[in-house]
Every structure is written in structure tokens, then in C-alpha cells.
């Protein structure tokens, strides 16, 4: 079955995840393929982004697609007052798929209702970032050989981090042993996300209580730009720092992931430990996004 829109992690089945992982394996280390030659990918980044936009761009080029698009609202007609719907209609005429980043929650779903061509959500406000969840899970799959049965610890801003929402939802397609949600009380996972989960979840504030049980520690930045109230941000901005003291208490084969960029939440001394896998995780972005493009746009016998 061809994937249509990828707006939420929940748009992918367990089979979809594994098929994408296998394709990503195949696409690792390839220089260039022509699987998507003649196809055009639109990168519609209404909100600035460097690594996500670049990795999508590289993935499209490596599969032989042409790329059009923009990297900020200022560069397009939105700045002249054009609405999102009209921009999506225009890009639908020019391309075969739209990768979209937008500052408003729910923008990707709205775009998918307008668009005649597939929409891939590259982050919509504080809502979801499903392709990051694909990279996160692929990293775990590569390191451990499986995802089921692991104990996870998600640490930091669990309220506003869209990567957290998408990862938690993606995990509903697997069988995590337990997921610890570690955050200050002001930054707990939102109820609407928690309600849809189908595995054991424990909310807590202190990572030292369970760090020794965790296989995957997923760290997020506390994002200043998501806070309406700066006073609230000041209260929580440095709630957690993953330092050597914490890492030394982890399982020997436990891993630390981070969607990046990081600021102060992971001490740079941790980078050299064998637990630190966030740069490796970032290196997998291109093959995963190639796999996703191939799933969405590649030729199929059933086409």
C-alpha cells in the first residue's frame, strides 16, 4: 500500500515502520539513485529550519528528484498576505509531494485536506514531527536490533516538544516495556497525547530514581520560543542537565538520543561516552527520509 499523507506518527502502521527501516538500510551509503527521476519535491518551510530542510533536500536529490521550495515565510507570498491554503494549491500544481514545516499546530493536517499530492509533515507548531520519530526509532532499531521490550525515559520539555508527541505515538505501534516521562510539573505531556497511548507510562520529575532501568534516554531542549510567558520559561529552563554523573548510572548499553539542536541540557563531556548516540541518530536522517520519499513517491506495481 502506498503511503498517502504523513501528518502524524499514527499515519504509519507497524509494517510501515519496518518497511521504511529496511529501505533506510538499503539507502545507507548510496551516492545517488534515479528512483525518483522526473519527480519534483516541494520543500515548504514556512518556519526556518536548517538540518531538517537540508536532510530532506539531500534525500530527494540522492533519489534523483528535483527540489523546489522556500525556507522561510519572508521569501514567499505569505509575506504579501497569501494564506496557507493558496500556497499549498500552488505547490500542488508544480510538484509531486510537499514537505512542510509550519509554526501553527494542525497546519499539516489542514494542508493535507487541501492538497492533491502527498503532504509530509516536517513539524507543525508544538503538535507533531513524525519523520523525526521515524529517525528516533530507526536509531534504536539499529543499535538494539529491536524496539519492543525496551524501557524508555523521555526527559525535559514534554509539553511543547513536538518530537516527543510523535515519538510517544509512534511507540504505540511497538511494545515498550515501560516509558518514564521525566519533566518539571509545568512541562508534563499533554493529556490529549497521553490518552492515546497503549503502554505503561510513569510520570515523574527525578531522573535519578530510575536511570539505571532505562535503555533509551530521550532528551529534549526546553524551547524558549514555545513559552508565552518568559517568567515561566525562566523557572524551568535549566531543570535538567544530563551530565557524566547521571550517565555513569545508566546501563552500560543504554543510549542517549536527542532530536538536536541541544543547548545546555546535555553536558558536552557526555558526547564522548559510548551511551551518546545523538550524532549517530542525526546521521540516519537522510537514509530514513530517502526511504520515506520512496514509499510516498516511488514507482509501484500497483500504480
Amino acid at each position: 500500500m502506498r503511503l498517502r499523507h504523513v501528518v502524524s506518527s499514527l499515519d504509519l502502521t507497524r509494517d510501515d515502520y519496518f518497511r521504511i527501516f529496511e529501505l533506510a538500510d538499503k539507502f545507507s551509503n548510496v551516492k545517488k539513485l534515479n528512483y525518483l527521476s522526473g519527480k519534483v519535491v516541494s520543500l515548504a518551510f514556512f518556519e526556518p529550519s536548517t538540518r531538517t530542510a537540508q536532510s530532506f533536500h539531500t534525500a530527494a536529490i540522492k533519489l534523483g528528484a528535483d527540489v523546489i521550495g522556500f525556507a522561510s515565510e519572508e521569501s514567499i507570498s505569505i509575506a504579501k498576505g497569501e494564506n496557507l491554503a493558496d500556497t499549498i494549491r500552488m505547490l500542488s500544481n508544480y510538484s509531486n509531494c510537499i514537505v512542510m514545516r509550519h509554526k501553527f499546530d494542525g497546519a499539516a493536517l489542514f494542508a493535507s485536506e487541501i492538497s492533491d499530492i502527498p503532504i509530509i509533515n516536517a513539524g507543525d507548531g508544538k503538535h507533531e514531527h513524525p519523520t523525526q520519530a521515524l529517525i528516533d526509532l530507526y536509531t534504536i532499531y539499529k543499535v538494539f536490533g529491536e524496539i519492543d521490550g525496551r524501557t524508555f525515559g523521555l526527559l525535559g520539555d514534554l509539553k511543547y516538544a513536538r518530537t516527543v508527541n510523535s515519538l510517544l505515538r509512534a511507540l504505540t505501534r511497538f511494545k515498550p516495556k515501560k516509558v518514564f516521562l521525566i519533566s518539571p510539573s509545568q512541562l508534563k505531556v499533554r493529556r490529549e497525547i497521553l490518552d492515546g497511548l497503549n503502554y505503561p507510562v510513569i510520570e515523574t520529575e527525578n531522573p535519578y530514581d530510575m536511570i539505571q532501568d532505562i535503555d533509551v534516554l530521550y532528551v529534549t531542549r526546553i524551547q524558549k520560543e514555545r513559552f508565552v510567558d518568559e517568567v515561566e520559561y525562566e523557572k524551568v529552563k535549566e531543570s535538567y542537565v544530563v551530565d557524566l554523573k547521571l550517565v555513569n548510572m545508566m546501563k552500560k548499553d543504554g543510549i542517549i538520543l536527542h532530536p538536536l539542536p541541544r543547548v545546555t541540557e546535555i553536558d558536552r563531556k557526555v558526547d564522548k561516552t559510548t551511551n551518546a548516540k545523538y550524532f549517530y541518530q542525526a546521521s540516519l536522517a537522510v537514509p530514513v527520509r530517502m526511504a520515506l520519499f520512496y514509499e510516498v513517491l516511488g514507482e509501484r506495481k500497483d500504480d
Binding site: 501553527f104 499546530d105 497546519a107 489542514f110 507543525d124 493529556r191 490529549e192
Partner: protein, 159 residues
């Protein structure tokens, strides 16, 4: 001795033509009038009974409006803040139609998403759309940003 229901009936007289909204949860009658856009200067004869006894819901409000029919959009909004309400259409002093309201499974365009960052508050074409998660207590979920909203949020918008 006059029974309590008789006593309530005596507070206001019957209307000839119009609508009687009964079984409104106590204290919500003013919100119902707000939904109907009735502020008093429109010229309708309106009767309001608040906090009377009800076998069905304990205490209730009743609104009677002469020569005014309620449309579907208004009825849907009333269900959100008064799911127990019934709408009786009166013609020549007789109830000709009795409607039991039901909270719709999906609510489109009637209420705003309270999340200022939701796309529905930021694109002229994006219409708000909520799914009903539960009726008692009322809980709706924005289909775009997925935020939950409660009865209090709905009332806050209406009042």
C-alpha cells in the same frame, strides 16, 4: 396546597406561538439566550424561569420565546451547554413538535479553538472542527491541534 410544578407554571403564562426550551441546567438560561442572540431589545416577548425544581435534572431553567424559531446551528450550540434541554415548538398554544437535543459527534465552525496557535485561528479558510470525546462532562477535541476543551471553555466563548 399547590404542587411545586403548578407553582412554576403559574410564574409565566403559556405562549401562543414560538419556542419553549425546557430542562436547561439551572443557571444556563442566560447563556441560551446569548446563543439565540436575544439581549432584550429585539422585540421578542421572552419569559425566563430559573432554578425551578425538575424531576429529571434536579433544578432547571426554562426559556419561552414568542414568535421565534430555533435553527439547527443554534440547537447544536445549545446542546453543548445544555445537553439535557428539550425544545418544544408551540403553535396555537399546543406543542406541535418536541425535539430532544443530542450533542453532535462532530462540531464544525460553531466554536473557536481556544489555542491561539491552532491553524483554525490563523488561516481564513481553516474552519474549526471538534470531535466529541465525552458528553458528561463535555469534552471536545480540536481535530487540528488536538487540544481538549470543556464545557467551561464553551460557555466562556458564548458569554
Amino acid at each position: 396546597m399547590i404542587s411545586s410544578s403548578k407553582r412554576d407554571e403559574l410564574i409565566v403564562s403559556k405562549i401562543r406561538n414560538g419556542t419553549v426550551i425546557d430542562h436547561i441546567p439551572a443557571g444556563r438560561a442566560l447563556a441560551v439566550l446569548r446563543i439565540l442572540g436575544i439581549r432584550g431589545s429585539e422585540g421578542y416577548r421572552v419569559a425566563l424561569v430559573m432554578n425551578v425544581e425538575s424531576k429529571k435534572i434536579g433544578r432547571k431553567d426554562i426559556v419561552k420565546i414568542e414568535d421565534r424559531v430555533i435553527d439547527e446551528k443554534e440547537a447544536s450550540l445549545i446542546t453543548l451547554i445544555a445537553p439535557s434541554a428539550t425544545i418544544n415548538i408551540i403553535r396555537d398554544y399546543v406543542v406541535t413538535e418536541k425535539r430532544h437535543l443530542e450533542v453532535p459527534k462532530q462540531i464544525r465552525g460553531l466554536i473557536k479553538c481556544p489555542n491561539p496557535q491552532c491553524i483554525t485561528n490563523n488561516d481564513v479558510e481553516a474552519e474549526s472542527r471538534f470531535t466529541t470525546i465525552s458528553i458528561k462532562p463535555l469534552k471536545l477535541k480540536c481535530e487540528y491541534c488536538e487540544i481538549y476543551i470543556t464545557e467551561d471553555d464553551v460557555i466562556r466563548q458564548i458569554l
